[in-house]
């Protein structure tokens, strides 16, 4: 601002306009003109990803969710080994103990059951179970984090496979176009007409229950959304002027891909993946809840919720703890996905 100097011609004009407070010539020191300096940009042009990061970090909800998700994922990995119990080890004398954490009694972790009796003193249990125990005396802290781990694993693998299939299918469809595209799109149209929950349930019924079948059943219909997103984006981009302009200016294919196509397709892909993950977590929990989930002694959040629901009247903690964890995970993924969508939408660039 301060370095901008009027040249002599402008100065004369100013004087002739007869301004009340007129700057005199000796107030200014003319800056020597340097043509090389003028061509320089004040700051390096922000790359697409840097800008997206900055936008994401301005979104408080997304940042908090990201941090919480990192904590929850870390807990799902280290939580099961934070005490001496394993997720499958049964200890019948210690069955149905309410949660107790030394120092957190005011939060309800006081070891008292629904009738207000401290089960720990009554039964003479020395060790504190942080999230309580189930009807076989298995430590719920270990089981909840192990369950979170399995639920996250299923969701991540399903989302990743959806991504791979969707990108390949959508890419081929958009790249070849014409009759192939038309045919592939008809298949998609029919697949989207089928409620995917029904397909998932039917497939689980004929497959052996387990993590692999759940993942397989979820990707049978799950990739369709990703394929549609990728195809739509590619078709849209192929005909855009900036692609043509860049090509005209002599950009190589790799530059076109790196600088123009990829950043524009990556955004929607990432956002779609982020929305797939909570959906997958939901489906897994849903399947477990109607009795089509994992087999004992394995635990997922859905299995724990189902077990907890059966004992809701006498031992509400068994339901409440996994319910809170799954809700937290879902909320965080949804908020983060929202934030990413806002941050990665190139149309919102100013």
């Amino acid at each position: 601002m301060t370095t901008i100097q009027p040249n002599d011609g402008d100065f004369k004009n100013l004087r002739s306009q007869d301004r009340p407070a007129e700057p005199s010539a000796d107030l200014f020191v003319p800056q020597p003109l340097d043509s090389t300096v003028r061509e320089e940009l004040a700051a390096p042009a922000p790359t697409f990803w840097k800008e997206a990061w900055e936008r994401l970090f301005k979104n408080k909800g997304a940042v908090v969710s990201l941090v919480l998700l990192i904590i929850l994922s870390a807990m799902s990995l280290i939580g099961p080994s934070m005490n001496e119990f394993t997720y499958r080890e049964q200890h019948i004398p210690h069955s149905n103990l309410p949660p107790k954490v030394a120092g957190l009694e005011w939060l309800g972790f006081d070891g008292k059951d629904v009738n207000g009796v401290d089960q720990y003193t009554q039964r003479g249990v020395e060790t504190n179970y942080w999230f309580g125990t189930d009807e076989f005396g298995r430590d719920l802290w270990t089981r909840v984090w192990k369950g979170t781990q399995i639920s996250l694993f299923i969701a991540l693998v399903a989302a990743f496979l959806d991504l791979v299939i969707g990108v390949i299918y959508g890419g081929i469809s958009a790249y070849y176009g014409g009759r192939i595209d038309n045919f592939m799109q008809r298949i998609i149209e029919i697949l989207t007409g089928i409620p995917n929950l029904i397909v998932i349930i039917l497939f689980i019924l004929i497959l052996e229950p387990g993590i692999r079948s759940i993942i397989l059943a979820m990707i049978i219909t799950g990739w369709v959304g990703m394929a549609r997103v990728v195809r739509g984006q590619m078709l849209q981009l192929k005909g855009q002027e900036f692609v043509l302009a860049s090509r005209t200016l002599g950009a190589s294919d790799s530059r076109l891909m790196r600088k123009h196509l990829l950043p524009n397709v990556m955004g929607p892909i990432i956002v779609t993946v982020m929305f797939t993950i909570p959906t997958a977590i939901f489906f897994e929990a849903f399947l477990s809840f109607i009795g089509l989930g994992l087999q004992a002694p394995l635990a997922s959040l859905g299995v724990l919720i189902e077990d907890g629901y059966d004992a809701i009247r006498s031992f509400p903690y068994k339901l409440l703890i996994p319910a809170v964890v799954i809700s937290l995970v879902m909320i965080c993924f949804n908020l983060l996905a929202d934030g990413l969508r806002d941050a990665l939408d190139p149309k919102m660039r100013k």
């Binding site: 149209e189 029919i190 007409g193 089928i194 409620p195 929950l197 029904i198 349930i201 039917l202 497939f203 019924l205 004929i206 909570p278 939901f282 929990a285 849903f286 809840f289 109607i290 009795g291 089509l292 919720i305 629901y309 809701i312 009247r313 509400p316 339901l319 409440l320 319910a323 799954i326 809700s327 879902m330 909320i331 993924f333 949804n334 908020l335 929202d338």
Partner: protein
């Protein structure tokens, strides 16, 4: 328009046919038998039962018979209840499901619309934040978790409403409420972003510039235009209601289709599983078809022939 309708209809029929075929084939792959006491049956008893249900014939014949019966509205017999047709079971159980489903849908849509509209009109105020929070919670918390919590806190702890009995109108409140949560959240989010988009349109500025008072602008221009795309939400909403009924009926002991479905899965009563699957799929396809047609009628900007948005 006519061509478009015929085309859409053809798609709906093809999709349904594929679902029927796929369901039939999947059912053939199911492990186990549908007879409840299979290990006690002698060879000859089994043969009699197989002949009774037509299971002794080749798969192709079974398939043709099934399709033929289906066209006549016959879904076969249930295996778990002696001599009951699937049709009559669906007939008995569709009532409670439809009741809580529709209640949830209507209640959820109204509340969602109100929340979303207020939220958009008070954009970036405390009201907006509260309703956005409600929407995020509703989207994120699985409906069955919410149902279980509702049952525990309102049914067990407070004792305001029946926990899991199906006897009077009060019994329908909690299941409907649990179903409506996802609807509220979806509708509120959707209408909010639609409203915000419409509020930024030139024709809204024009309406204000020509001196229309604010309520006129909001009611005549903004809400009317923002409501049109809400029709497209009917498909996803129908799905969420159907998904919801599967578990929520189990939780609240509603004698509906969803409860029957989960029961039939456990005992592998596959004629019932197929019947309910087909019913749900047909319903879904019908809703999608209606939405496509309705949307074209409501918004003249949509070009039905080309199938693309103008």
């Amino acid at each position: 328009m006519k061509r478009y309708l015929i085309q859409r209809f053809a798609y709906a029929v093809i999709t349904l046919f594929i679902i029927v075929t796929a369901t039939f084939l999947l059912m053939q792959l199911l492990p186990g038998t549908p007879y409840s006491n299979a290990e006690k049956l002698t060879e000859s008893q089994r043969a009699i039962l197989d002949a009774k249900y037509g299971l002794d014939k080749p798969v192709a014949i079974q398939y043709i018979t099934y399709i033929g019966n289906l066209i006549q509205g016959d879904l076969g017999y249930s295996f778990q209840y002696q001599g009951r047709t699937v049709m009559s079971m669906i007939g008995d159980r569709i009532g409670p499901s439809a009741l809580i489903g529709l209640q949830g849908l209507v209640f959820g849509t109204i509340i969602g619309l109100v929340l979303g509209i207020i939220s958009a009109l008070r954009h970036n105020t405390a009201v907006d934040y509260v309703s956005v929070t409600i929407a995020v919670l509703g989207m994120s918390i699985p409906s069955f978790v919410f149902a279980a919590l509702l049952q525990y806190f309102i049914g067990v702890k407070l004792g305001w409403l029946p926990v899991a009995l199906w006897e009077n109108y009060q019994s329908t409140i909690l299941p409907s409420l649990a179903l409506s949560v996802t609807v509220i959240a979806t509708v509120a989010r959707f209408i909010r972003s639609e409203m915000l988009e419409v509020l930024g349109q030139d024709y809204v500025t024009t309406a204000r510039a020509k001196g229309l008072n604010e309520s006129g602008v909001i009611w005549k221009h903004v809400i009317r235009n923002a409501l049109i795309p809400v029709v497209t939400m009917l498909g996803p909403l129908a799905v969420s209601i159907m998904t919801g009924t599967l578990v929520i009926e189990k939780i609240f002991g509603v004698p509906g289709l969803g409860e029957q479905f989960t029961l039939s899965i456990l005992v592998l009563d596959y004629s019932v599983i197929m019947g309910i699957t087909l019913l749900y799929s047909a319903l879904f396809i019908f809703v999608v078809f209606v939405v496509d047609v309705l949307y074209g009628l409501l918004d003249p900007r949509i070009d039905l022939k080309g199938g693309s948005k103008a």
